[in-house]
Amino acid sequence: MQHAQPSFSIIIPTYNRPRELATCLTALTRLNYRRDCFEVIVVDDGSAVLPEAVVAPFHNQLNICLLQQSNTGPSAARNTGAAQAKGQILAFTDDDCAPAPEWLQTLAARFATAPDPVMVGGRTLNALSDNLYATASQLIVEVGYIYHNADPNRARFFTSNNLALPTDRFHALGKFDTTFGTAASEDRELCGRWLHHGYRMIYAPEAMVYHAHTLTWRTFWRQHFNYGCGAFRLQQVRLRDGWQLFTPDPRYYLRLLRYPFTQIRSPQALILASLLFVSQTASAVGMVSEWAQQRRKKTIVSGKG
């Protein structure tokens, strides 16, 4: 691979996870990519304790800086980081992620060969295979990728913990939508907007990131509840912008419930399939509760008027 190495800005939003952040930064010290060709921008999203002490030891190994903002959610933090980025390409990952050593190298190879402008998304792997909830959450993402990115050169959905795009295009496009807050889906919204401009998305499974998000029954439920809230807001954004609404495809849900059985051996697969069912219930409850909440707000507003 004789391509010139493009410069990257790796953006990492973080919120009250100093230990995970240290693991993430350690992984970045092992990237086999020229040190003068990437910078690391950590954006603290208003943690109780600013992770200065976590970042400090990495100053002699990485070109790294720490930015600070009041707590306004990961999307706003990513935008804050991107505003300071000097690299040609923005590479987004999260504080609970550890990119594999070849991450930037493989992304660079894709940018070198794909027609501009392109957004490249890598493969996210579960680093906690002994945590059933984390495994289930990762399976959902995998099924989503199989469904949306069946043609890797015409991909349609990437999660924000492993995606890269040219810095100038990101700014021209209008960054991440910050109205989602803790409700995820800001990545889906960004991908939708990117495609709406007629730009291309390429799925690069060789660009790997390990995701270590410890989940319990409660946090698993809340995560998928939040996804449901996000999905409802996403529909509203699409409605506002006059786009076609996203219609659920029953085949997708069938595939989702069947997926564990094709991947894992029986007893665990059954438990996982049940967890996937729970996750979809949580999402549905999240959607309805978001709808109810907004209706209530509207009633109050119109009642006042």
């Binding site: 092992r30 050593p101 792997l125 579960n126 680093a127 295979s129 790997m208």
Partner: protein
């Protein structure tokens, strides 16, 4: 995201053990995995026994290639096999091992989830009535429980049940050739793999049985050689890092001697604890022997 099973290259280094090799190939012929999705590469590490007949005889519809090298140790033999491998993944086992029928299937489903990791599986002792073999295995079990307490961040595997993505293994440089006796090269490889930022995952459902017949003499020699390997390994680490030889904390050795008490049946406990002590003594002797020899 192909639905097709990944292609494996099974690599078996061998040295003057035709009977064991025949049993090993026999077990590979029983693997529950599509025949056209794996190859077997036997690397003869300069043994005096011709293996052509053994390989031809055990060829039950599986694709076996026999390579020969002048005696240079199992690490070099494994590297040689890896360079000839056509598979997407390498699966290493020993000539005195018999992998379980679902070995490759279990590896394949793990690689589907973590395609760039080194995967290490469980090694069972196939000779439970041989006290020396049992004690040697107990030691491996102990090391696995110590170093691989967190299966997703494992730190030590032996090459009898170990798998890699081929490209990454070859680019990484494989086993260090300086460990000719085949002790210590596994620890060096694992440490270097982790230093590169690569991951190791312990997969207990990936099973290989190990049939290594030991007597009191060979048991002592085995652990003496482990000691020599340990010294060589510590040497390579010391050169890379601080220049000082680092040992495990005392707790490690104390728990090691206690381990048989927690793991084995009543009647064997005392005998196994004694054997573990003998193994540690032989190990220490080997360690200091090698130190003396290499300081000359």
């Amino acid at each position: 995201m192909g639905q097709q099973s990944p292609f494996f290259s099974i690599i078996v280094p061998t040295y003057n053990r035709p009977e064991q090799l025949a049993a090993c190939l026999q077990s590979l012929a029983c693997l529950d995995y599509p025949r056209d999705r794996f190859e077997v590469i036997v690397v003869d590490d300069g043994g005096v026994v011709r293996l052509d007949d053994v390989v031809a005889d055990s060829n039950h519809g599986i694709n076996v290639t026999l390579l020969y090298q002048p005696h240079a140790g199992p690490g070099v033999a494994r590297n040689f096999g890896a360079r000839r491998a056509k598979g997407e993944f390498l699966a290493y086992t020993g000539d005195d091992c018999t992998p379980a029928p679902d070995w490759l299937r279990a590896l394949a489903s793990r690689f589907a989830m973590t395609p760039d990791c080194a995967l290490g599986g469980k090694i069972l002792c196939a000779l439970p009535d041989n006290h020396y073999s049992t004690a040697s295995h107990l030691l491996i079990d102990y090391l696995y429980s110590y170093y691989n307490a967190s299966p997703n961040a494992a730190r030590f595997f032996t090459p009898n049940n170990l798998a890699f993505p081929t490209d990454r293994f070859n680019a990484f440089g494989g086993f260090d050739a300086m460990f000719v006796r085949g002790t210590g090269e596994d620890r060096e490889l694992c440490a270097r793999w982790l230093q590169h930022g690569y991951r190791m995952v312990y997969a207990a459902e990936v099973v290989v049985s190990h049939t290594h017949v030991l007597t009191f003499g060979t048991f002592c020699r085995q652990h003496f050689n482990y000691g020599r390997g340990t010294w060589q390994y510590r040497q390579t680490q010391a050169q890379k890092e601080t220049g000082r030889i680092i040992l495990e904390p005392l707790r490690f050795y104390f728990n090691l001697l206690r381990y048989p008490l927690s793991q084995s049946r009543d009647g064997n406990k005392v005998r196994l604890t004694l054997l573990m002590s003998v193994a540690q003594a032989a190990n220490a002797a080997g360690f200091f022997w090698e130190k003396k020899v290499s300081n000359k």
